[in-house]
Amino acid sequence: MGKHASSGKYAIVGLGVIAGPQPDRSERMIAAEAARLAIADAGLTRADIGGAIDLRRTGGGGDRANYSDAFTRVLGIKNNFYFTCGRGGALAGLGMAAAMSYLDRGIADYVVLMGAVTDWSQSQETRKKGFRGMAHAEKRGYWGKPLGDSRAVSHHSWMAARHMAVYGTTSEQLGAISVAERQWACMNPEAKMYGRPITIEDHQSSPLVAEPYHLLDMSQVSDGGIAFILTTADRAKDCARPPVYVLGQGFGEVSADLWWEKKNFTHMAVEPAKKQAFSQADITLDDVDCAQLYDCFTAEVLFQLEDYGWCKKGEGGAFVADGNMAPGGSIPVNTGGGLLSCYHLGDLTGLAESVRQLRGEAGERQIEDCDIVLTTGHGGELVSPGMCSIHTCTLLGRHA
């Protein structure tokens, strides 16, 4: 089949990360500071940046969309284009696809993509009023709210429950995902849970939130920002840091191959995304050195391990319990600690970790000879009865 002409034609050349509580900063200022760091990391100046893509998890009430066109002025760039993009946890995958089309047409030479959240700070405020979790995220608008629907955790825990009912997956097996990601986080000084290892017993004794989910099945509520710079491969060679090439990208929609009620709640839309991305890159699963799989909750990792084919459908529980995704396992997954133990900024979290692994900057958790990383995003609308629809697959490589 051979590589697609687009494979290796574009590269990530700059990365900026702001992690940890940011109580006195707006999302706009966090995003701008992450962007500044990314531009500096690439060895560029603001004058080089021809366009900006603002990555937002614009779900529900739209609180996260509360910053406006002021962003590019705050950052101080003379941009040819600026727009917002994102569907739940599929921010970076979608944003990159758009950025590459601008680069392809010469509308910009370098594009900055950035996202920021103040979910943690906002949840501290709503806690005082008796709300728990991200009460600020969606104020109205979806079915089920008066019936006790807590959106993300309610819907995702149905998926886990359905997988358990159909395949006999156990809570302890889901716990193995949580434990493995914490092992990785304990090797990442930037992770929220650095220095705080957990065991299966800790997982089992953590409070039940929405059974089958315990607290330790759930991702972090975070503050922070991540930005990266994308450019063409020829320009990438002259940047300050080693380029991370985009080898392939694919997308899948659950609603595309099922009746729209989406009755299969035990898989994600991996198949078309995988096919597109892997055929562009002309590689197989065996070529992937580590994976950054979207992990809003534990079961999403299990579904993807099955759906990509690291194990058979229904066998994900045994696969993770055998330590396959943990340090030393057959396929290292979420090597920075993921959304479960590092910080939650959609698929930007996994993308940032992919860049670090491919540059050889991952310190104690560095995967040896890391040449190819698979990064996924997962998101869309969560309107009951339904599930996150989009799945994005991005294959990144150290060599074009």
Binding site: K129, G130, F131, R132, G133, A135, R140, G141, Y142, W143, G144, K145, P146, L147, G148, D149, S150, V153, S154, S157, W158, M159, A161, R162, M164, A165, G168, P207, L208, V209, A210, E211, P212, Y213, W259, W260, E261, K262, K263, F265, S384, P385
Partner: protein, 153 residues
């Protein structure tokens, strides 16, 4: 009319989120007040949708031209469920733990709601129990919520 004798009235201040009633679903919420569970049905091919949708079986028809709201049986089977032990919204503090289920209606579509009654399922590995609608009336607020209970046998 499919009136369930075990439906009940709650005439207190409403401290939880309000239902989101808009142009597309107003008829559905009006139906609940009359103790009818309405689904969106294609009069041409019989396909059933919930919420309101376009019939997938015809090309280039005006939007929803063949469909109308039709009363459903109010019965279905549990497709998956979870047990909420944690009240994210303070309005649910007194209710936890509660069972929140995804229900496959006899007519086909999935709907989600809270399960009520004495016979609540407890083992999430066991699904497929038959459930039936229970109407929870809130006359002071002007809406009725559709809840479900497990049917024995």
């Amino acid at each position: 009319m499919n009136v369930n004798p075990q439906s009940y009235t709650v005439d207190l201040d409403w401290k939880k989120p309000y239902p989101s009633i808009d142009h597309d679903n107003e008829a559905f919420w009006d139906g609940l007040k009359e103790h009818k569970l309405l689904v969106w049905k294609c009069q041409q091919c019989g396909a059933v949708y919930w919420p309101k949708a376009y019939c997938q079986n015809h090309e280039n028809e005006p939007f929803a031209a063949n469909c109308e709201w039709t009363e459903a049986s109010g019965r279905g089977k549990i497709f998956a469920f979870n047990i909420h032990h944690w009240a994210f919204h303070p309005g649910f503090k007194e209710e936890v733990p509660y069972v929140y289920a995804l229900i496959e209606l006899e007519e086909g579509p999935l709907i989600s709601s809270q399960l009520v009654g004495d016979d609540l399922p407890t083992d999430i590995h066991k699904i497929g129990q038959t459930v039936e609608i229970v109407y929870e009336d809130h006359p002071a607020q002007g809406f009725t919520l559709p809840k479900f209970r497990v049917v024995r046998g």
